[in-house]
Symmetry: C4
Subunit: 257 residues, 4 copies
C-alpha cells in the first residue's frame, strides 16, 4: 500500500447525496455524531478507506479478529426523496502533514464520483463553556453558511484555524466545485462529549430536514456527565489533600522562623 485508497464493498446509487465526515478529534464530537447517525438511520457500510499514513498498528476485535486502521463510508437512502446521506468516520486521522492532505483529497475525489454537491465536516472546538454547547460554522459559500446560521449555528471567530481533515476538506473542496460546511461543537475536548455532538446534530437535522430522533443520545450524555462528575470529585479530593500538605508544611516553617 503506497497511498491512501478506497475499497468499495458494494454498489450504491445515491441521489443528491450529502457526505458527512467525522474523524476522531477534540471530544470525539465528529465520531460520536457520525456513529449516532449510522445507528439511528441504520445506514449501511459500503466502502473502506485505507492509508499508509494511519498509525502502524492493527486492532483486535472481541472475536480475536484483526483489521487495519481505516475509515468507513456508510450509505443511507432517504425515503423522503430528499438528500441521501453518505456518512464517514474512522479510527484515526493521518499522522503526517502530507497524509492529511492526501486523505482529504481522496475523500473529495470519492465524493465527486458519487456526484456529491455538499460535504459537511464535524469536529470539536475547545472552549471552557457552560450550558448548552454552541455550534460554530464555517463554509466555502455564503449559501451553506447561511443555512447553518439559520439552523442555530454561529460564525467561527475570524482567523481561528480548523485543524485536520475537517478543515482540509473545506480548503480543498473549492478545487472540486463541491460546497463544504464545517460544524464545530463547543467542547472541553479531553473526554468524549456526546452533549456537544447533540448540538451539532440538531443543526444538521435542521439544515437538511433529516428528522433524526436525538433522544437516544441522552443516555450517552448522562453517562458522560456521570464520568465527568466522578473525575471532578477525584480531582477535588486530590486538590484538598495537596492543600492540607501545604498547610502542614507552612506550620513547620512557622515553627522555625
Amino acid at each position: 500500500m503506497k497511498e491512501t485508497y478506497i475499497k468499495e464493498l458494494r454498489q450504491i446509487n445515491p441521489s443528491n447525496a450529502v457526505l458527512v465526515e467525522g474523524f476522531p478529534g477534540l471530544g470525539l464530537v465528529g465520531k460520536i455524531a457520525i456513529r449516532y447517525l449510522i445507528k439511528q438511520l441504520k445506514a449501511e457500510k459500503f466502502a473502506h478507506l485505507y492509508s499508509p499514513h494511519f498509525p502502524y498498528f492493527v486492532l483486535v476485535n472481541k472475536k480475536g479478529n484483526v483489521r487495519l486502521l481505516r475509515g468507513s463510508f456508510y450509505f443511507w437512502k432517504n425515503e423522503s426523496g430528499q438528500n441521501d446521506l453518505i456518512l464517514f468516520t474512522g479510527d484515526s486521522q493521518a499522522q503526517t502533514i502530507e497524509g492529511q492532505y492526501e486523505i482529504a483529497g481522496q475523500m473529495l475525489d470519492f465524493a465527486q464520483k458519487y456526484a456529491v454537491k455538499t460535504i459537511v465536516t464535524i469536529g470539536g472546538y475547545r472552549m471552557e463553556a457552560k450550558g448548552k454547547p454552541k455550534v460554530f460554522a464555517a463554509a466555502t459559500s455564503h449559501e451553506l453558511l447561511d443555512k447553518a446560521l439559520q439552523a442555530g449555528a454561529i460564525v467561527s471567530a475570524s482567523g481561528s484555524p480548523i485543524v485536520g481533515t475537517a478543515g482540509l476538506i473545506l480548503g480543498l473542496a473549492r478545487f472540486k466545485n463541491i460546497g463544504a460546511l464545517c460544524l464545530l461543537g463547543e467542547t472541553r475536548g479531553y473526554l468524549p462529549d456526546p452533549l456537544s455532538a447533540r448540538s451539532v446534530l440538531e443543526v444538521l437535522n435542521t439544515i437538511f430536514n433529516f428528522n433524526v430522533d436525538l433522544t437516544a443520545l441522552n443516555e450517552e450524555i448522562a453517562k458522560a456527565e456521570n464520568m465527568l462528575t466522578r473525575l471532578q470529585k477525584i480531582e477535588e479530593k486530590r486538590a484538598l489533600q495537596a492543600e492540607e500538605i501545604r498547610r502542614e508544611e507552612d506550620r513547620k516553617t512557622t515553627y522555625i522562623s
Copy 2:
C-alpha cells in the same frame, strides 16, 4: 535504494510453506523464537530484505566486516511431508509509518510468490504477569484462531492494538488472500524474554506439528532469570539506600521543628 527490496541468495522450492515472522519488539520475543527455530531446525538463509526505512547505520561483525541492517529469510524443508517453513527475522523494524506499511506489504508479496497460504507473526504483549507466560492470539480467520486456541493460546483483549510489522502483516494479509495468525507472548518487555518465546513456540509446535525440541531454550531462560535476579537485587539495594537517606533527612527536619 529507493524502496524496500528483497534480494534472493538462492532458489528454494517450498511445498505448502508457512511463513513465521519475528522482528525485534517487546522482550525480543519474536526474534528469540525465530532464532531458536533457525538454530534447532538448521534452517538455511535464502534471502535478505533491505530497506531505506531502517535506521541509517551499519553493523560491524567480529571480523571487522560490515553490513546494512536487514531482515533475513530462512528455509526449512519439512521431511515429514507436512508444512515447510520460511522463517524471518531482522535487526530492526522500519523507523517511519510509511516504512512499516511498505515492509509488511513487501513481505506479503514475497510470501505470495512462494504460494504461502499461512503467515504467523510473533511478538510480545506487555504484562506484569507471574508464572508461565500466556500466549495471546489474533487472526484473519476463525479457522486459524481456533487452531491457536486449541493449542493453548487465549484470545487478545478486544480493542487492544498490535503494533508494528507483526500487526500490519495481519491487517494487510486479507488483501492478498493469505491467512495470518499473530501470537503474542506475555512479557514485561524491557529485557530479552526467552521464557515468553518458549510459550509461543509451544503453541506453534502444537498447531503445525513441527515437533521442535524446546529443551535447548532452558539454558537461555536460566541465564535471563539470573540477569533479572541480579538487576532486581541492584534495584532493591538502591531503594534501601534512598530510604535511608530519606530517614536521615527526616531526622534533621525533626531536630529543627
Copy 3:
C-alpha cells in the same frame, strides 16, 4: 494535492519584473514589508501557491469563509517604465525540509515563466541591537550585492546561515540563471517588527527607484513600540516581585542560622 502548485487567477504581462518574496519568519519582517508594498502600490493578486507541506489546518475569515494556507502573488505595473513588481507573501513556510526545497524550486520556475531576472528575498536577522535596524545583504552576484551596499545595506557575517525560503531561493537561483538578493533586517525576532521592515524597504526603494512612500509605516511602528513598552513593563514588574520574594526568603534563612 501531491505537490506544491501555483494556481493563476488572471493573466499578467510583466515587463522586466522583479520578484520580491517575504514569507513569515523572524519578526515577520518579510511579511510586513510585502504587505506594506501591496497596500501602498495597490498591487493586484494574480496567483496562489498551495502545498501539502504547509501545516494541515485551514483559516476562517470574518465572514465564516474558509481557505487553505497558501502563498499569494501580487502584480504591480510600474508606470515609470522601470521594473514591474511581483510581490509574494504567505501564511506559513513549509513544515518539512523537502517541502522547503520544493516550494523554493517552484517559485523559481514560476519566476522563469515571467522572465524574471532578479529576485529579492526579505527576512529578519536576530540581533539585540539598538537604534535604527541595519540591513544585511547577501546575493548570487557581485553586481546585485554592490547595488544593495550602495543603498545602505551591509554584508552579512561570513558563514552565517539564511534559513528557510529566503535562503533557499538564493541557493537554487543560480541553477536557473536568475540573480537573487537577500535583505535581512535586524530584529529581536519575537514580535512583529515594522521598524526593521522599514529599514529593508528603504534599501529596496533605493536599489530599484520604486519611490514607495514609507511614512504610512510609522503608525504601525508606533503601535509595535507601545506593545513592546507594555510588555517590558509587565516583565519588569514580574522581576521586581520575584526579587522581593527572594529577599523575603533570605530574611527567613537569616533568622534560622
Copy 4:
C-alpha cells in the same frame, strides 16, 4: 530539486582512482582529514552534490555570496602512476533516514561512473581515550581490512554501529561490487579533533603509499589543544565555585541541626 544530484563542473580522467569520503561527524575527523588532503595535494574541485535532504538553509561567504549546502568532489592526479584520488567532503549529512540512504547510493553510482574500485570512508569513534588516538577499521573484504590492520589500524568492536554516510557507503558498496573500507579515529567527539584526523591519515598514507606530508597538521593540532586546555580551565573553575557554594550551604545546615 526532487532528489540528490551531482553536478559536474569539469571532466576528469581518473586512473585506478580511490574515493575518500569525509562528511562532518564526530570530532569532524572525516572533514578535517579530507580538507587537509585537498590542501596538501592541491586537489581540484570537479563536482558538487546537492540534496533536498540537507538542512534548509544557505551559507553566506565573506564576500556576501550565497550557496546551498552541498558536498564537493576533488580530484588529484597521482604523478607516481599509482592510485589517483577523488576526495569528498561537505557541509552536512542528510537530515532524514531516506536521505542518508539516497546520498550514499548516489555517491556509489558516481564512483562507479569513474570505475572506482575502492572507497575509504573516514569518521570519528567516541572514546575517552588518552595518548595517540587509535584507528578502528571495518571493511567489505578481508583484503581491504588486512591492509588497514597492517597499516596500524585495529578491528572495530563486534556489533558496534557505524552511523551515517561513512557506514551506509560500506553497507551499500557490496551491491555495486566496490570494495569499501571505513577508518574511524578515536575522539571525544565534541570538539574538532585534528589529532584524531592525523592518526587516520597516517593509516591512509601507509595503505596507499600517498606520501602526504602530515607535518602541516601539527599547527592545527596545537591550536585544538590550546582550545581544549582553555575550556578545561574554565570548567575546573566552574566546578570549584560550585563546590564552594555547596560547602557554604553545608555549613548553614550544620548550624541549624
